[in-house]
Amino acid sequence: MVVGTQSRYGRESASGPGPAVAVAPPHLDGEARRWVQRLRAGADGHEEAVRELHALLLKAARFEVGRQHARRPQFSPAERDDLAQQSADDALVAVLAKLDGFRGASRFETWAYKFALLEAGVAVRRHAWRGREVQLDPEAWGEVAARLQGPDDDAQMRELIAAVQHAIGAELSPRQREVLVAITLEDVPIDVLAERLETTRGALYKSLHDARAKLRGALALQGFEVGAR
């Protein structure tokens, strides 16, 4: 099941279905051009190229599922295989749909890998959160200060934390508060939250980004130095 594949990858290239005849993209070097030409529908060697591409994507997906599993063992071998296969299948669809968007800024393989890694990463995080409720508590922001405080905070830190707490209440919309708390304090993965809220990673991150900017602005007005260290 792929939900919102297009939005997950950002803009679609405005190519439409396109001609079945392979037109050599002039800006690509030999190896990349060979990939793109063969992957076009109806091209010579199309099916073989699709098989090669799928193998490449499967390798990347297995790599990512394995990497995540090594970090936090959570899957049976059969589940790992399923996740990798499904991710490679989804990535294949995405790569073929995006083919005209490949500009040769990297090797073709590198470009293709990222689709499989994204699919696999999202699949692993969603799988890990399956059955776990994502609490979006409209009042949870009230505990931010309590969550941030430490036993040996100096006066300055206590002041900053109090100001953060106040700014969250005063500056942010209820939705921004929920998103901020879920992602930055509850560690809910953005992709999991996006799925539950039926939105996209990009849209959620934008909302987080705007919320952070508002908080920093409010703190700066009160004379706090926040930001890059």
Partner: protein
């Protein structure tokens, strides 16, 4: 239990000022950025706003880490790229 430190929490909460790519732009540039990184070719100068986004966005940071690890594990592709 070793979770993020309070400083990490504060940074995650407040982010950092300065220009930053969106998630969509980040995905668009990720392959190029990682190849530049692996080639020691001033990736951050070539793709401004990427580093800030990776610090601020845990999801894209995971994708970045994955691609970096995969390429590092397979070969050194960027170094083999022909010039131009």
């Amino acid at each position: 239990m070793s979770g993020p430190t309070r400083e990490d929490r504060l940074e995650r909460l407040l982010g950092s000022p300065g220009p930053e790519l969106t998630c969509e732009e980040c995905f668009e540039q990720l392959d190029r950025y990682v190849e530049l990184e692996l080639a020691d070719a001033q990736a951050d100068e070539h793709v401004p706003g990427m580093r800030a986004h990776l610090r601020g966005c845990p999801a894209c940071a995971e994708d970045h880490e994955a691609l970096h690890a995969l390429l590092a594990a397979t070969d050194a592709p960027a170094a083999e790229r022909p010039e131009g």
